[in-house]
Symmetry: C3
Subunit: 330 residues, 3 copies
């Protein structure tokens, strides 16, 4: 540190700046300059929260919905959402357009208007689905109320339940994923992941009346398909078993590689189901089960035989012997 003479210090800002900028300039698709495309994470999250407000008006406490002006407040918010969403989708489409054409610069005079017009169409098509998404989420809310003995009311679920927040955001992100919007759905699902610890890839297909309790550590992969009335607990992974590679050793993207859970399947805490397997309807997968095969028979109950345990009684109050903790300590 003594090497930092005053002279060096004065030159420091320009020196580091020059190095950083040189690196930015050679970056292939790892620097984002000119502010022309790439969705803006914070604004995506803002419009996402506004859509949640439209789905369940008043719950965030940020917008004052009143019965006598309900249509006006709703229409006004919807209109704001439409413009903000179209802008972010437009950036995402311009981004895609640039990447697919291997251009360094954003959409020019030719493409930009096309991308923007398409973004507005997509935003409108998406917003038309909001009432149906609300109906789906009301079923999810009922499923949470039916499934959790600690729940007191639907209001509590909408206000505070992480599993409900995760599925609400997923149902929105999944629509954009299906419409092949780049980047935006993943920004949304990772926001849900941050807020709830629940990691649902926007590609996952999830049926009606879905409930996740507690939720921390849940992972649902991109090509998972879940039927109606599925219930998951914390720490459940619906993952891939192996990743096929092409002749060059590169991962093949987009193949079906995650589980299928038929209607009325329940998976208890910490269970792991891997690969493109199918769990037949009304089956129950017990806690901590590790499963890489299909369960073809409906109404199956899969429980693991708990590991053998040893119980020993220590002499009162002796100091802990490190060996005593072998295999037990973190």
């Amino acid at each position: 540190m003594k090497k930092n003479h005053p002279v060096n210090e004065a030159a420091m800002i320009p020196e580091i700046t020059a190095k950083l900028c040189a690196s930015y300039r050679q970056g292939e698709a790892v620097s984002y300059l000119d502010d022309q495309d790439l969705p803006q994470r914070e604004l995506v999250i803002e419009v996402l929260e506004q859509m949640l407000e439209l789905l369940f008006p008043g719950y965030s406490g940020c917008v004052g919905f009143r019965r006598d002006s309900l249509d006006f407040t709703t229409g006004e918010l919807l209109s704001r959402v439409r413009h903000a969403l179209a802008r972010q989708l437009g950036r995402a489409l311009c981004y895609n357009c640039r990447v697919e054409q291997h251009r360094e610069e954003s959409c020019g005079a030719d493409d930009m208007p096309k991308c923007r017009a398409r973004a507005e169409e997509m935003a409108d098509a998406f917003l038309r689905k909001l009432p149906a998404i609300r109906e789906m989420l009301l079923l999810d809310c009922q499923a949470a109320l039916d499934g959790d003995p600690a729940t007191r009311s639907k209001d509590e679920i909408i206000l505070a339940y992480p599993g409900f927040k995760a599925i609400a955001i997923h149902r929105l992100a999944h629509e954009l994923y299906t419409a092949k919007v780049p980047l935006v759905p993943r920004i949304m699902s990772e926001y849900a992941h941050t807020m709830t610890g629940i990691d649902i890839n926007p590609g996952a297909t999830i049926g009606r009346s879905f409930f996740i309790d507690h939720g921390t550590g849940v992972v649902i992969g991109e090509t998972a398909v879940l039927g109606d009335n599925v219930k998951l607990y914390q720490g459940v992974t619906l993952g891939a078993l192996s990743f096929p590679k092409d002749g060059c050793g590169h991962l093949i993207k987009g193949t079906k590689r995650h589980p299928n859970l038929e209607d009325n399947v329940t998976v208890y805490a910490g269970a792991t189901i891997l690969g493109d397997v199918t769990i037949a309807h009304h089956s129950v997968i017990g806690g901590n089960v590790w499963l890489t095969d299909s369960i073809p028979e409906p109404y199956s109950r899969v429980v693991f035989t708990p590991a053998e345990m040893s119980i020993r009684i220590r002499k009162n109050n002796l100091p802990y012997d490190p060996l005593l903790f072998a295999g037990a300590n973190i």
Copy 2:
């Protein structure tokens, strides 16, 4: 998407608005209108953070506490907390009053003043407990210092430890739960869950000198009862084993269904204890143990016999064989 003619686009906002508003209006307790009751999540969190500031002045860095004006700054903040908390408790009580009377509208001229007066009483009774809660938290802080070899100081714990933040919020939320305040305690505990990955139901009873290390994935159920000097590691679940239902097949809410941990019990990472069982004092539950029975003998040590493992050596640098990963890959 091509179906979106300009004409449709103009009509889009009114159309969707009408559908959404129709849905809001028929919602039984799933729309929150008129801004009269229901606590406001963001304001609940704001007052919660202010209470943490009162418990450990200066740590957030947002309020400038100084020795020479300590009483004034404290008194001023306390007074602000009192009003903000009373307002949120008032909303929660009005909410409850509406729900219990199956009314559509909020408290009217008769009930509102009663709810508000009761909320002020509750806020005052709660704030009187702050000094005692601070004493409890100082013990929790000491427990963290004694239990974690990576900790350098109490300041580090208060500034940055998720386990400490979780127990601090829990001790506040639990007081409100005990006073039967609806919604507010759960909003607080889910805020802690979001920030820390630790999910403690506000109903859980937790003794002195409690320490959670790392913490992500910890779940402590509503009717769990923990003694003094309990230590938990990440991924520990203290959950329910089964949910009794009434004659109509509905969950019975509120029964005792979670574990009891006596004084000086330690539970290592990933262990799961389910049901209304009791772990005798000074017992150690090893990592990943799955336990649905009581451990009646004090000073017990419960470790699981690790699953048999197979170790094979691959030939150098051969490409991965997918089968090789069977049961191993996500």
Copy 3:
């Protein structure tokens, strides 16, 4: 609650204030007064986010970087970061200075200028490393692209991947840890923990091309050492096996107690590796494996034999029998 007579209510604020202030005043290092030292968490996080912006300009969407003014925008942001960082490091050093000298008050006229000058040197030395840290992170980004079949682009990784955010913050925090800055590195790493569910102690040494997928529940201990091309999945713990204590029964801080993973080691979801053990290069540790021994042979593959499972078929649609869930329910 009826005991709250109006008289008491008027006196409530002064009473509670007096009790709280009395407690603050006797607190040994558990109250932070006078606003002289102790880093300010929110400002530390703000400068951390600005450093991430410098590493990947434009991704947050908050700063408008343009090609024609790239150097100016970068230099200006760098200069702001330098001052903000130096201020927080100065507070941390003053804090340390006070604690080491067991003084109640912050640095006085003698020490404060020394701490501040040292903080500026440290900030400069740290910022000089930003270009190299960016190079490291570009390798991490490539590793994510190569390792995750759901990834579409590097932009998606930088914009949204929690594993990438966690390693980016870790590489910054680790530099400050190495320079022996107190408190600030831990504030940074716990911010990453909150945002991602990934808990990397700032002391951990991590090689090039590191990738964590999903990430929730990952714990990497203070003295863990990871080589190049290491891949971890969600729920992996690299922890300590036991904590040696000194003659007085106090934990000995700072000893080497966490695992070493050599180059090209992959650890699948939920695996736990404990103690100062070494996993030889190119080895694969399967999901849920519990390991407290070294794996000395390179190219080893360690998988656990899944616990025996029982599968039973329930009679159609019979109500759930609680016993049926024994060991399976949460």
